[in-house]
Symmetry: C2
Subunit: 416 residues, 2 copies
Amino acid sequence: MKRTADGMELEQAQALIREHSDRLGTERVAISGSHGRVLAEDVFSPMDQPPFDRAPVDGFALRASDTAGASENSPASLAVGETLYAGSWPARSVVAGTAARIMTGAPIPPGADCVIRQEDVSSGGGLVRIARPMRPGENYVYAGEDLKAGERVLLEGQCLNYAAVGILSSIGACEAAVYRLPRVALISTGDEIVEPGAPLGPGKIYNSNAFTIGLRLKELGAEVLQRGIVPDEPRALAEAMAGAAEAADLVLTTGGASVGAKDVAMESLELLGADILFKGLRMKPGSPAICGLFGRRLILCLSGNPAAASITFELLGRVALCGLAGNEGLLPVRIRAALKSGFGKPSLGRRFLRGRLVREAEAERIELVGKNSSGVLSSLLECNCLVDIPAGTGALKAGDMVDALMLGAQSFAWRQ
Amino acid sequence: MKRTADGMELEQAQALIREHSDRLGTERVAISGSHGRVLAEDVFSPMDQPPFDRAPVDGFALRASDTAGASENSPASLAVGETLYAGSWPARSVVAGTAARIMTGAPIPPGADCVIRQEDVSSGGGLVRIARPMRPGENYVYAGEDLKAGERVLLEGQCLNYAAVGILSSIGACEAAVYRLPRVALISTGDEIVEPGAPLGPGKIYNSNAFTIGLRLKELGAEVLQRGIVPDEPRALAEAMAGAAEAADLVLTTGGASVGAKDVAMESLELLGADILFKGLRMKPGSPAICGLFGRRLILCLSGNPAAASITFELLGRVALCGLAGNEGLLPVRIRAALKSGFGKPSLGRRFLRGRLVREAEAERIELVGKNSSGVLSSLLECNCLVDIPAGTGALKAGDMVDALMLGAQSFAWRQ
């Protein structure tokens, strides 16, 4: 009954998870439904963008050479020909001594090499008078200024945010090839778990993991299959795991992943004949995490303690999502910053503390956001990073530099 | 035909928009559908969380006083009574000289004041032997350690991310009172605009604003009503604006908001008899922005240039959303950081440059992400902030400190 002090280092566990998280297949979706998806191929522009030379202002298109030497006292006077609106097309060229009336976004006619703003001229009687010399290219947007035909505009692996979809639409794309969304099945285990809304009997607690982990999965771009609450019974859980593995690309369970007499996750994996990739991690919280491989599906069993489940999900579950989704942006980014306040306890083993990176004047510091016991969910609200305290670290004081993993998903949000 | 150099200062325009963006009504939604919504009331916990004293480890619950003076040579030996699993409830108290077998998450029986891990004892024959003195409270989670009954756990105005919904579920809440989602109608104007997928005639360009602005609205938590493309005809646009204002809480148009002969946004607002809150802003890009008040609805007319539309949306549209949604987290956050590279042009007027705040070693610097002409959409991909260059600024060099507005929505993503 002695607990093994062993367990695996986090990075080794992450490498095993990654190794068994193969990128999913691809599908083509309409760009209107592509938001938040991950591109499965590079995209090249089929056209120049803009597709033609155009005016960026309202005014007159003309030949700069016609304004050589022009001044207030001796303005160049040009005959105004056709009027070009956005969406129209020039019927003729601008020849020497003439100009075309032109609106923002309209194509610049052949012959003209610059555009003067309407507020910088005087006009009337079919003439426009320009009181200064113009330079060729002034107020002139060249075809392909934004994108050139054949240019690679988006990269495989890129998450399609609003700007990326905007670019697809601007080159006339109707569809995009994207990776299939990871489907993740979520099982809550425990005889003590009751769904919110039901009466709470003695010894019972409400199910929060299904919400916390389920919605976090959604935030990270996964499709979630809620598989409900399974009692602390190995056969029932094994059956639920097998069904979930059939329906999903990844199975997550919470609860029953410890060493007690009813810690059923391990027994269930054994009943299934799953390969155990690891059992136990050398870190707090979440040390009891277990990972099994059932067929080609990972079954990741997390602690039932809500905050521990959530933190372990960030450290392990996101690695699996990253592999499945083909999106490296799903991995937390490691930074280094100074602590704003100390942490009195020495850390015999490796420890992740909930933190909040805050900007102060022109620097950033990490605040520890309170209660760090495994069951404490409320401090997760404030938390935007996990401070990584190595094994064998003494008490920490304000100003000490620490490593932290930023929890924002890079590709699903603008960085803050 | 002289363009007025006037226009309004951005901050004044923002204040007018805010003044006319009243917070929407509230509704009650199931917590399963509350993700991303903004709380309309403070939430207080109806219960202690955890609801009872419980064991954080698998082991034995006992009275610390029974282990006074215990040692390897002279362990305390206690009779083991009932076994408590998570979800069960103690049938009796732990009296002097006894212990209860207890699993993680199970309620600690009356009488016991500490829990010893199973790996730290030897047991057998109905006895458990403890070889060291225990302290009261050791391995003991008190009822209410996370949240106390009556404690305020979430605040009005808070956006319900995964952690917040997790907390609601943990206190058994089924529903939450949230503000109604802002409904925003989006109209693209311009005779030159063609929907992606259609053939692109001469002088035409593809509609990207409907995608860029529409998806950005979605990222910021709004419901989008796409009202299609309207030609450059004041009556048609006025009619489209009126219909949109009836269906939505806010109307956005792109295109036709300049000074040319077919710049129809202003004419359309006049046909409607809308009050003009401002026409023109003292900044680039997006200087031609117009805002009208039609009944109680704001109609915000942005430049048709894709990047200008997008940037002006961040500066103006988000202010309206913030007011409607009751979510201050929707406003961009102003920071100050050093430029990574220079910007050669002096800025006679105020100018917003696309930038990217990047972390380097232990500091952060702002990279300018290239092409800043109004039509250039591709650089928006890289951009995570807008650098705010005041009027009258000379050329900028690397290392110069600048102000920037971070474009991430604070409440919809963990900060990065």
